[in-house]
Symmetry: D2
Subunit: 351 residues, 4 copies
């Protein structure tokens, strides 16, 4: 690949937008040529518009770029979006209609029947929806591909090898989610100090619905939801990055513990075969220590793109239980969208 694709970031000043900029700084296939945001930062140069909240400095290339409004056209060939849900639908839709491929981390279009809710290791064949989508929505080559909610990505990635090999019929997931998932300023420090919050608006519903679509089957008529039941209870805890989930699963057939672990450990998929730049060598890492995974120690595994699973054990009520962890703003957001775009490039859908 000789020429880099020119990309624009919608929501560039937010937590996920900053991750996009950080992760794309030296990307071999993409270079950022436009930044846009929905807030008061429009018209300012990025270093004035954005309080950088990640470690280190704003990448040099971004400092002097002017922040535009999230409206087409932008000087780029491809859009990454992490706009807030309420304005994402109008803005992303407008870019798609104007002919831009939109790789979105927002929730706005995820459950639309003709929009792929993509995890490259799990359901790349869902990209078949793009034909329908283009036919229906736009005559100019634009389209929308979304990635799931940060917790759902982790859960669906953990379930994928189990569902594929054994069939999953029931899932009970209890999450302990990091602060960065709420954006900035997000959760007030007084709210979470010496505390846990048992509520994240809309999160339980997203996990319960998106999982069925992701693990569903692509049919000519659309995605057929996976025939399983999913229960989610979500909590916010005082952790900066890294979502943890305690998961129980019910399987369609009897499976041995080692067989189950092996399904996790041996799991690789198309992104690994294609050698996509952001694809981790091991999408799922299984740890045997009794006290892992832990957010602080494991969130950066595989450059934040691997999920880590531990405490795999038989369960008294369902069949098995385990604890899963992933970096919520990398594998769970910006990194997810970038991997989606890398897959689109590698499969010829972006050039």
């Amino acid at each position: 690949m000789t020429r880099k694709l020119r990309v624009g970031i919608l929501g560039a000043t937010g937590m996920v937008g900053q991750r996009f900029i950080q992760l794309l700084e030296n990307h071999p296939e993409f270079e950022i040529t436009a930044l846009a945001a929905s807030d008061r930062s429009q018209g300012k140069i990025f270093s004035d518009a954005c309080t950088w909240r990640l470690a280190g400095e704003i990448p040099t290339f971004a400092k002097k770029m002017t922040v535009a409004a999230p409206e087409p056209p932008l000087d780029c060939e491809l859009i990454f979006s992490s706009l807030p849900g309420d304005i994402a639908r109008a803005s992303e839709g407008a870019f798609a209609r104007a002919g831009f491929p939109v790789i979105s981390n927002s929730s706005a279009f995820r459950m639309d029947p003709d929009v792929p809710l993509l995890i490259p290791e799990v359901n790349h064949e869902h990209l078949g929806l793009l034909d329908t989508q283009r036919a229906k929505r736009s005559g100019e080559g634009g389209y929308i591909v979304t990635n799931p909610n940060c917790s759902t990505i982790m859960l669906a990635l953990a379930l994928a090898p189990l569902h594929h090999k054994f069939g999953v019929t029931g899932v009970v997931a209890t999450t302990m989610q990091a602060l960065s998932g709420a954006g900035y300023p997000g959760v007030a420090s007084l709210a979470i100090s010496d505390n846990v919050l048992p509520f994240i608006e809309g999160e339980e519903e997203k996990i319960e619905q998106e999982t069925l679509k992701i693990l569903g089957e692509f049919k000519s008529s659309g995605i057929e939801a996976a025939p399983m039941k999913v229960s989610a209870q979500c909590h916010r805890v005082a952790v900066s990055d890294g979502h943890l989930a305690a998961v129980r699963v019910k399987l369609a057939r009897t499976v041995g513990l080692e067989e189950l672990k092996d399904a996790f450990t041996s799991f690789t998929a198309l992104p690994q075969e294609l050698g996509l730049h952001s694809a981790p060598k091991h999408p799922i890492i299984v740890r045997e220590e009794p006290d892992r995974p832990q957010p602080r120690l494991d969130r950066d595994a595989g450059n934040g793109m691997s999920i880590t699973i531990g405490r795999v054990q038989p369960d008294n009520v369902l069949d098995y239980r385990f604890v899963a962890l992933s970096h919520n703003t990398i594998r769970g957001a910006a990194g997810a969208a970038i991997l989606n775009a890398e897959l689109l490039v590698a499969t010829g859908k972006l050039t």
Copy 2:
């Protein structure tokens, strides 16, 4: 009641020991006349032996008391024990053999077939085991009554009205437990900073086993375990006091949401009828706000003796789900033992 019973505290310098001292400072039925500990503090006066870790000061009466070894005899009529598990068995056993009633918060004897694992609101009839126990173990009036593990008390108290009214057949509990549950020094600050620990040694097993005994039926042959399945996954979070649990339940019959909530709200039992000093007016408080219970806001409800339940909803996999919270060193430890003792007094088993 004119004369107070004279009580001794085993494990007086620990976190739960300090709670015993705090809660008994002005108790109408008990006065502390002996303090014992297993550590280097023996022979010192309490204010030298103990670094007080609760808010406020060491109660004046305790300051000058000399810390004894946890061996009989002690100058008291009744023992409260919060000794570490490894030495509790020998020490508590010795006190019972020497004729002392031992009200224990330790795990040593909880699962012994002839030892009541008591929550006064839930299974006071289990005190019937004391006849067997006395017959078998000691001829002098000593016996052992235990309270459950801190997380189990909360869970069993939440399940009790459901099990009584509807029958509970399956329970899936995921805990987020406070630091004080690990004692002092307990969890290292570096271990929990920006982190969650998905492992508390022995905790999942305790919850899964103790719950069946507590909710079991007293028969002349002993306790018949409740016919239900319990699954527990336990986590340590950066909260000082207050254990939280996300719970799903499967019920033996179809129950409406309001009927379920009403079972919680209307629940009172023998301690409330008897007006026991430490019994909260409402053992279970149900909150309707979407983001409650929270450890910091709800742990002190009912002076730390009520549990708070919220987010009661139908569940996709089991029948219902909810979030429960209780103060782990009050209702979950020292307060539990004191309420046990109050019940023994009120039912004539201590005088």
Copy 3:
């Protein structure tokens, strides 16, 4: 005192406003008859308008009160205000002009030459300014009395006995301030997680200026600033309540260590003599343990109205050093204003 004074709270939904309501719930001299706020809550009943962020429940009396706009008239005889600085000046000024005594925790009027910046234990004679103020500002009995910034109250209270007995010529204070000082939502959790913030806007200037006024002398021409130099560096730390300050002082004469400690310990003043309801028995508590004061252990001393001082030692650069702590929303805000009002009642300025 037979009849309670009817009081209104401006800024009732904020952190300090909630403290006013909590502290006044059973106050012998005041009863709340009006609640006002500057935000979207106007016209709602308080329980709908306010997310209660203190432990426990909204006091029953307040739940059904309707939140008014912070404009005169309100149905009360006296105003407590904790409005944000930007709107306090207009609102409090309007109430004073309309004849209401305004007891303010806001910064708006603190440095006005004719407004007392009052700590009852320190400078009650500054109330002499009220004559000037009434003459100048209003013909109807209204006036404004302010309390200092939360950190300044602690510092000035600690310095008062030293300045009175020995003369203080230099003060170097470095604060570690609690999250509640920033109100709600205040500091973002992501900003303070695993972090310290070395900046609180305007705080260093307030401490450096207000201290000179508080410790200054009342003259017929106004307050003559105390002849000392004050240096403040302010930091936000991950503590919910309780401001800590590391303080060095330079004294006008040679003083022994015990003499210095005795000045702290023996300090009482007019509020203690008058037996004001909120006056702590010991305004300053000195602790001898090497690791005290600590926010979590000492902030509630004297019901949050005592400050706690520890680590009193000679200093290599100035003369002495110590660490001071106080509850920033009680002694540092709502409790301070209430004590001011109690002094006004006791000295006949409110009836």
Copy 4:
């Protein structure tokens, strides 16, 4: 340099020991050939002996190494030590007597008159003490070089350019120190939760004494302490890594603000000239944002070897004030010792 020096780590299983192993993994001049520890880990392989507490995994090379006792001989040419103070004196002394150069992070020998207390950017000429030390202590080539306490390194590095250019006569430092400074398990989570601890044993004394030696002059008779007064107040805060200090300085002559900042910004020294591997390009980074430095955002500047200074301002009591930050286990411990060793290599004292 063709051959790497073979080094042994004393205290290899501790927090600083782990940093040594992490930082030396791919070091161009040193390779670890021996690991020793004072605890129960002796005789085990490192991966069994050590619970790795840094992000990522134990470096592969270290996993299978057997942990030895901290006694000579060890299979290496050079010793890095981070032993606890109480055993460091005997152990390090024995290694020096046995002919090993000992580069120590321990406090045991820091204040010995013939032992350099070295910061390569500040006082490399203090290495002149090695002649005396060798003459006095050992005939075989062994010697001891120490680095200062973690807080002192930061302070002395910040003061060095000021003292060199303007003369510093007084220093008032108030620290907010990270948890990792106390090692593992170190501070109990219950002790620091929602809290600040105003006491770190021995820390204030170390800062006040070590600073005078570091900034002192090397004379043939030894180090002449710097003619300045230093005051330190030390606090532990809930931060994992990164010590912060609020500093005021009194200077020997009048200096302008820009001149002062320029002294920080332009500061480079021998390690930068020699291009030592661990030497940061900028030993001191000055930030102009009002809210920097912050531990989480700035501790990794210069790979943890730069200190960051902000909020440089005139002071009311001394002359100037600023806030300084450094990574306490890199620049403040393991990285400091490694830089010391690199200087010894570059100046021919290790080959």
